[in-house]
């Protein structure tokens, strides 16, 4: 999987922010991951450990918030939560034209540093 690449992406953002703030170490990193991405939580934890080795983020805790998917119906404006497979159709009116509001995010929310 590509969790190693994602961990590298998180690390770059984290190190830029931590160094910019004059940090000596990073304690925790908060990230949000949409449930429709292909990210596997355990694999990301594992990749994080490997990616941070020898950096100021070594030993830091990666706090992953998984975000459920939500869509809005273009016909009736209903906003509904859904899983991976059942989001293509509005549960209220049966319409097929829906806009994804949430579920594909991959975001670093913040860090805790010393």
């Amino acid at each position: 999987m590509h969790e190693a690449g994602i961990a590298a992406g998180i690390l770059k953002t984290v190190i830029d922010a931590a160094e910019g703030a004059g940090a000596s170490r990073v304690n925790t990193v908060d990230v949000t991951v949409g449930e429709l991405t292909e990210v596997v939580e355990d694999a990301l934890h594992f990749a994080w450990g490997a990616a941070t080795d020898g950096t100021i983020a070594q030993g830091s805790k990666l706090e992953i918030t998984m975000l459920p998917a939500r869509s809005r119906c273009a016909d009736c404006a209903e906003v509904f939560g859904h899983g991976r497979y059942d989001g293509g159709r509005c549960p209220a009116c049966g319409g097929y034209v829906v806009d994804l509001l949430a579920g594909r995010e991959l975001r670093v929310d913040g860090i805790d540093i010393d």
Partner: protein
């Protein structure tokens, strides 16, 4: 001490993808990212698409593979420039790899670049390469249930090619169910039944692509 960041994780890849997108727009070249499982017929579909469009458009191919260069050689044997990217183990292509490959091509002379992504139904769908469209191929022998298992790739695709359609009678492929599931995941994506090696159905797919190539040549966004 807490610091708020709020930055997209694939930011580095997204930035590079935006750069690629700008470059493609500047040169009026349409870029297609073709995704599928290993053996679904990506290379065969690329060769068939080249045959359908080569009289009208100048085409190049970027071949992504974990190792080896056999696909690039097949394309070159067809008289079309091909750049091989070996990902060295990575299971998908990223924008930086595409940029390095594109830098070896003469973009002003090109109308269409087809990217053969690494054979994988999972992570290529998460990586923006700066392409105009991602399109996936499912081959009939893989089974009509694949959209249930890999919904993401069906959702990010602008069109779905159903390849090896010549074998549809041999396998218990339920086309009606396949169309219904893909339609509910992605109502805007047309499905093109194709037999890449025999040539059936290639024209309809190639016309869909040609319309988009034209729009980009004219400076639209397609």
């Amino acid at each position: 001490m807490k610091i708020d960041i709020g930055e997209r994780i694939l930011a580095a890849n997204d930035d590079l993808a935006a750069g690629n997108r700008e470059l493609f727009a500047e040169h009026g070249v349409y870029v297609l990212d073709l995704m599928a499982s290993p053996g679904a017929g990506k290379t065969s579909t690329i060769l068939a698409t080249i045959d359908a469009l080569r009289d009208r458009y100048s085409i190049a191919v970027i071949e992504g593979d974990i190792a080896s260069k056999v696909d690039a050689e097949k394309v070159r044997a067809h008289g079309i420039p091909a750049v091989q990217i070996n990902t060295g183990g990575a299971c998908h292509l990223e924008s930086a790899m595409i940029r390095r490959a594109v830098d070896t091509l003469d973009l002003d002379a090109l109308d269409l670049i087809i990217i053969e992504n690494v054979g994988n139904l999972v992570c290529p769908s998460d990586f923006d390469l700066g392409e105009h469209a991602k399109v996936m191929i499912l081959s009939v022998p893989e089974g009509h249930d694949k959209p249930y298992k890999y919904p993401n790739i069906f959702q990010v695709s602008r069109a779905v090619i159903l390849n090896k359609y010549d074998t549809v009678g041999v396998f218990d492929f339920d086309e009606a169910e396949f169309r219904e599931v893909v339609g509910s995941l992605n109502p805007h994506a047309p499905i093109f039944p194709v037999s890449a090696t025999k040539g059936d159905g290639v024209d309809a797919w190639a016309e869909w692509l040609a319309e988009r190539i034209e729009a980009v040549k004219e400076g639209g966004s397609a």
